[in-house]
């Protein structure tokens, strides 16, 4: 095709480059969150995540150990150690230049010795090892200040995930919310499939008066905003004693998912070959047998499509869970709600926020990449008709 079109190679290159640019633009925000979830709070708040992928130059103010750690070597008083270890800073850093005064932070190279007069002589190596000597005894409570310019290699940590998943902290922990979300999602995905499959079969292959009207009603209900259902259904649930809880949210998700399920499955089943079904009827199969033995196995792709939709939708949902599930105790909070609460209480703690958000995103992403084929097929069946 491209040869017929006679596209110039310049245009082809422009296409490749613009696609690369678009893909990078689309990935950039997500990658930012992903990278941030592996950084410490300090790192996140002092530099952009895009810098963390490369070696960074940092200006640090560090202190030598306090005078009370000094020892005597002959006539000399000596303090030695490692600057980074003494200051709990990252130990992989490499010092490029250093100084002993805030006005001259780059006076010395690693290995040089700085003479600070009465305060002694300081020798500092590139890896942070130092040796401070003096003829007289060191006095005072705190160590000498050293101004270093250090190259820090990229550094990542799993501590955030430990905090979010395993710490059991009441505000940060996503573990409970994760299981709550799973508890909401699985029944809310499976039940509508069963209910819808039977209805879709009836709408596709059985003849009865009012069928066209029912199909039209399903198409209409497909677009009814679920906002309208909130108050009447909450009143109903409270009235018949279900209250706020898992049962309520399962029922609500089932109801809200049904129009799409019936619509997708019916459209798929209508396309199945008529011969198979008629042959089975001639052989004496009942509708129930035709449905379970022939239609259901053949409809697997459509069932999978809807299952993915419903899974993603229930996993990512916030509104339905807030209205029908989460009560005042907050025991049954789901991940989306937990994240919104974290945004309020820990809006500045990006290490917790990013990790929590990524934990909630990870499962849908895995499902998405594993079953993308069915998702695309479902989208096409659901909207292009």
């Amino acid at each position: 095709m491209s040869s017929i079109a006679g596209k110039k190679s310049g245009l082809t290159w422009a296409v490749h480059l613009s696609v690369v640019a678009l893909v990078l633009l689309w990935l950039f925000p997500t990658v930012g969150l992903f990278v941030s979830s592996f950084r410490t709070a300090d790192q996140i708040s002092t530099s952009g995540w895009w810098k963390s992928l490369f070696t960074q130059e940092q200006n640090l103010v560090l202190r030598t150990a306090a005078p009370d750690t000094q020892r005597q070597e002959g006539a000399l008083y000596v303090i030695d150690g490692n600057l980074f270890a003494d200051n709990d800073a990252s130990t992989d850093a490499t010092i490029s230049v250093w100084g002993t005064s805030s006005r001259a932070i780059s006076d010395y190279q690693p290995g040089d010795t700085a003479d600070m007069g009465d305060d002694g002589r300081l020798t500092l190596q590139a890896n942070g090892d130092y040796r401070l000597e003096n003829d007289a005894e060191f006095s005072g409570r705190r160590g000498e200040r050293v101004f270093v310019t250090a190259q820090t290699p990229p550094q990542f940590t799993l501590a955030n995930y430990e905090q979010v998943l395993f710490s059991g902290s009441t505000t940060d922990s996503m573990a409970r919310a994760f299981f709550n979300t799973l508890t909401v999602t699985i029944p809310a995905t499976i039940i509508p499939i069963v209910v819808a499959a039977f209805a879709a079969y009836a709408l596709a292959w059985m003849r009865f008066p009012g069928r066209a009207l029912l199909i039209a009603a399903v198409v209409a209900l497909l677009v009814v905003p679920l906002q309208l259902a909130l108050i009447p259904l909450l009143r109903l649930h409270l009235g018949i004693g279900i209250g706020k809880g898992y049962l309520g949210v399962w029922l609500a998700h089932t109801g809200f998912g049904l129009p799409l399920a019936v619509y997708l499955l019916r459209n798929y089943m209508v396309g199945l070959p008529r011969d198979i079904i008629e042959n089975a009827k001639v052989d004496g199969a009942t509708d129930f047998q035709i449905f379970t033995r022939i239609i259901l196995p053949l409809s697997f792709p459509a069932l999978a499509s809807f299952a993915i939709f419903q899974f993603l939708w229930t996993w990512n949902d916030l509104l339905v869970a807030k209205v029908f599930l989460i009560d005042a105790t907050g025991e049954t909070t789901v991940m989306t709600n937990q994240i919104v609460e974290l945004l309020g209480t820990r809006g500045g703690n990006w290490e917790i926020l990013a990790t929590a958000a990524f934990v909630s995103i990870a499962v849908p992403l895995i499902v998405f990449f594993a079953m993308q084929r069915y998702l695309v097929r479902g989208l096409l069946a659901g909207s292009v008709k």
């Binding site: 997500t30 930012g32 952009g48 029944p187 039977f198 198409v219 009814v224 108050i231 129930f288 909630s360």
Partner: protein, 413 residues
């Protein structure tokens, strides 16, 4: 009882109950009610087959009726009552209270802005990506990556973009990409190119498109060829409405170009993007555009693949260049799909709640209808006004609902 156990039991009871119901009710129908034997065997089979569809349909129809159809009418009824007065009928009081609130009009205005910008931008980006990736070898990988945000929840996406929009005080290293980029501009040539010329070019393209829209919608009226455009009685007013809408947008974009060049931009100062009135709406819309572009791309890409090759080959032989092929051959052939994509995204936009709720909660003039409704229902506990605003959302959806049903019925014939 542990919720997981409860969940397992629910799955078993739910699925087992459904299957059991279908099996047993069919058995009951065939064996007890209308057995296919005895003197009336033939008539019984016919009768059983008349009833059977309703056995299959009953659970779904019941759930649909209870969870979607009934609430529409119940919400309508609630919007005419006052909860604090014990549910007494108050006529249109809730509606008049609602339209007297500035927050409601702010939500309406913002929703209209969302309705124009998000479907247009998502469809345009989706079409662009679909066309660009159509003929390159790694197109599927690129599509899959751009499609990925579809799997991310609105809340997750909000966190992702809050990091992008993050602000640190001046003097510190910015950790939000947008501020880091913003601070790299100093008012020099690059700033003029990226912040004044490029946006103006995009706006100018949009204005030209609107001008073309006015021309297309008014052409039959001006040259007296009304009978050619279908000639329905509603065609003339519809054309005027479309032309008026386009003219308004044209005026808006021309105005924006002017203000782009006259505005004094505060270079060098970190901005708190989500608190800048009016513009913060666009920063929220970016999140939804980012998510919905993948959807538009998948559908439009399939539609582009479905275009018959002969039409394109014929155009090439006639000497059309790639841009002509795209705008004059491909776009007209997939217009139907573009409309479907547009309306589907419009439906998502009308219901948009999570993004606003998580990012600004309607502060700084970013309120939208769904969040306004949530505020009324669950914070102010005012069910009357809440229901009234839900009905407003329903009214906005109704034209699409009618259009969808009309199309579905047309297909079935």
């Amino acid at each position: 009882m542990h919720p997981a156990v409860q969940g397992l039991i629910t799955i078993i009871v739910g699925v087992g109950g459904c299957v059991g119901y279908f099996y047993l009710s069919n058995q009951f129908l065939d064996k007890v009610l209308f057995p296919a034997r005895g003197p009336n065997a033939g008539r019984n089979i016919t009768r059983a087959n008349q009833i059977r569809p309703w056995l299959f349909l009953f659970p779904a129809v019941f759930a649909l009726g209870l969870y979607l159809a009934y609430p529409v009418f119940e919400t309508l009824r609630l919007s005419f009552t006052d909860r604090s007065a014990g549910g007494a009928f108050v006529g249109l009081d809730n509606y008049s209270q609602m339209v007297s609130e500035p927050k409601f009009w702010e939500a309406m205005k913002n929703n209209m802005l969302w309705l124009i910008v998000v479907p247009a931008a998502s469809t345009a980006f989706g079409l662009l990506v679909a066309q660009l990736t159509d003929r390159i070898s790694w197109g599927n990988i690129a599509k899959s990556l751009i499609f990925m945000p579809m799997a991310i929840s609105f809340v997750g996406a909000s966190v992702i973009f809050k990091l992008v929009y993050d602000t640190r005080p001046a003097g510190q290293d910015q950790i939000g990409v947008l501020n880091a980029m913003w601070l790299s501009f100093d008012g020099g040539a690059w700033a003029v190119l990226f912040l004044r010329l490029m946006p103006s070019a995009i706006l100018a393209a949009f204005a030209a498109f609107m001008l073309y829209g006015i021309y297309v919608s008014l052409r039959p009226l001006l040259w007296g060829e009304a009978e050619r455009g279908g000639g329905s009685w509603w065609a003339v007013p519809l054309r005027f409405v479309v032309a008026l809408g386009s003219a308004w947008l044209l005026w808006l974009s021309a105005n924006s170009i002017l203000s782009l060049f006259t505005a004094a931009l505060p270079y060098g100062e970190p901005q708190t993007w989500l608190t800048i009135p009016f513009w913060n709406n666009f920063f929220l819309m970016v999140v939804l555009i980012w998510i919905q572009t993948g959807f538009a791309m998948v559908i439009l890409s399939a539609a582009l693949r479905g275009i018959p090759e002969e039409t394109i080959e014929a155009a090439i032989i006639d000497g059309a260049n790639p841009f002509d092929i795209f705008f004059k051959i491909k776009i007209p052939q997939i217009m139907g799909t573009i409309v479907v994509v547009w309306t589907t995204i419009t439906l998502v936009v009308l219901k948009i709640f999570d993004i606003v709720f998580a990012m600004t909660n309607g502060q700084w003039e970013t309120q939208v209808l769904a969040n306004y409704m949530y505020d009324k229902l669950f914070r102010a506990n005012d069910w009357g006004v809440g229901s009234a605003s839900a009905i407003v959302i329903m009214l906005l959806v109704t034209p699409i609902l009618i259009w969808n049903v009309y199309n579905a019925r047309k297909e079935m014939r």
